[in-house]
Amino acid sequence: MIKYPLVLLVFLLCGCVGRNDSFSGFFCDPENNYIDQGIDSLELECLRPNVAGASYVGFSAISSDGLFWADALFGNLNQFDKEGNYLNTVIHYGNGPHEIPVNRLEAYCISDEGHHFFLDSSTNLYEFDQDYNLVNRILYYWNKKITKGDICERTEPYATAWGDNVNLTVHDGLFYTNIYGESDEFNITIPEYYKTARIIEPRDIRTGDPFPLLGRITPAVGYMTPFQKDFFRISDSGDFFVAYEADDLIYVYNSKYKLKYSFGQPGKNMNKDYKTLTVENFYNDLMVEQEIRGRYTSLSIWGDLTFRTYFTGSPDYQNRLQIYDETTMIADVQVPLGFKVMGYIDPYFYSEFICNEDNENLEIYRFKL
């Protein structure tokens, strides 16, 4: 008779703890983690797309219609053939049906259906169809009013990760952005943040309605260490591939964000002796750390292939690319500065557009596997 309340008590108490303040269910060690480096180097072909009057600040995407580069400052979208030749400016800045009404863009992507999505700095999301007609525009807000008790559950303490880390992805009726805490009560200076913060926010592409936040900061990110960014990609089947600047592993979750497995090899000769930053001298120390420390810099997926780039830091100061076939690393090769894999148009894999603002040029690299 006594047993049942006790069992119930234990069950209920166990159910009350551990959901919000644990890494369990989000991270695991790899089980099948192999190296079979049949590729010693990549033959990279450099293309030099030419866009008249560009700002040389922008975002790239690829689809069966070719290569696209969105000019982040001038608010237009340019299309190129697979040789990198400029074809047309398919979306201009303006207020017409084929125009985007802001000239400061924060992110750009193409959905599986071939629709083009833009995010501006005022959290407006613009959707253009395959014929470049503006078909939807939504405005969503971050409500900054929070209480301590809300910080683990609600979306309010977060903001979209502006700057060079905006990851906009559209999949199955939702758009996803990476987020970070910026409120006084919930940010990277708070130890609790590292245990409870979420990193990805889904929203409905039609209405902007928020869905439950996803993910956690990996335990590999130490308190106030300089490299806290994350990267995510969603496969055709809806699996999430998530990597972090500071973590050697790549984590794979199913479409419900249940952990499936992890894989990944450490980069070659990476300097990861990260310094713990102080609030007083945060940015100065951060700039020094960014020059000398290694970290992972991008993540891309294509079929069974995963591409991850990294910077070694001192003393080698190399930018390198790892290629994985499922969980087996098949290449770890040096690549040019700024190289990130964008996607595939038969028979080439293409890098993102590399913008050189000072020299006013754009570059793309392509290679075969």
């Binding site: 309340p5 008590l9 009350c16 525009r137 405005l139 009013k145 309605d209």
Partner: protein, 161 residues
């Protein structure tokens, strides 16, 4: 007697645990609901708030911007950096600029005038307030002009300590 007392205590604890769990469950489902109570989602209007002149429809001239970039190097925080750019009309038509916009609310931008005759210049001044800022900051001002390439940018760079 002891056994009854123990059962009673356990029952009370269970009730508290159940209540606590219920609160958590409610919060969990609230957090999983598609729209939070406090979220104000709205469809913004799609209208033009700019002036009626469109430089794209004007006779084309040419310009020279000096300089394109102003780099202040290392500066202390809590100051206002002022950067002036000269936009010289090097063509043969009247120069007109519009939609002069900074990409950050920390930066104000103003021009000496909006039109310049051939050979004349327009001075655009960007003022960056570094209060609360740290690290490398790059801010842009963009504008449109009746030139071959309509869009132009001005860049201000500073490392704020």
């Amino acid at each position: 007697m002891k056994q009854r007392l123990f059962v009673a205590v356990c029952s009370v604890i269970c009730m508290f645990a159940l209540a606590f769990t219920t609160v958590n469950v409610i919060r969990y489902f609230r957090s999983n609901s598609s729209v939070g109570d406090d979220h104000n989602i709205s469809i913004a209007s799609y209208s033009d708030d700019e002036d009626n002149i469109d430089v794209r429809n004007m006779a084309v001239t040419s310009i020279e911007i000096l300089p394109n970039v102003i780099d202040f190097g290392n500066v202390v925080s809590d100051t206002v950096l002022s950067a002036s750019f000269s936009i010289r009309n090097t063509g043969s038509e009247l120069l007109y600029i519009q939609r002069l916009k900074a990409d950050c609310i920390c930066t104000s931008v103003e021009s000496s005038k909006v039109a310049a005759s051939p050979g004349d210049s327009i001075v655009v001044t960007m003022k960056l307030n570094t209060k609360g800022k740290e690290g490398k900051n790059v801010v842009y001002t963009t504008f449109m002009a009746n030139t071959q390439e309509v869009e132009h940018k001005l860049r201000l760079v500073a490392k704020i300590n």
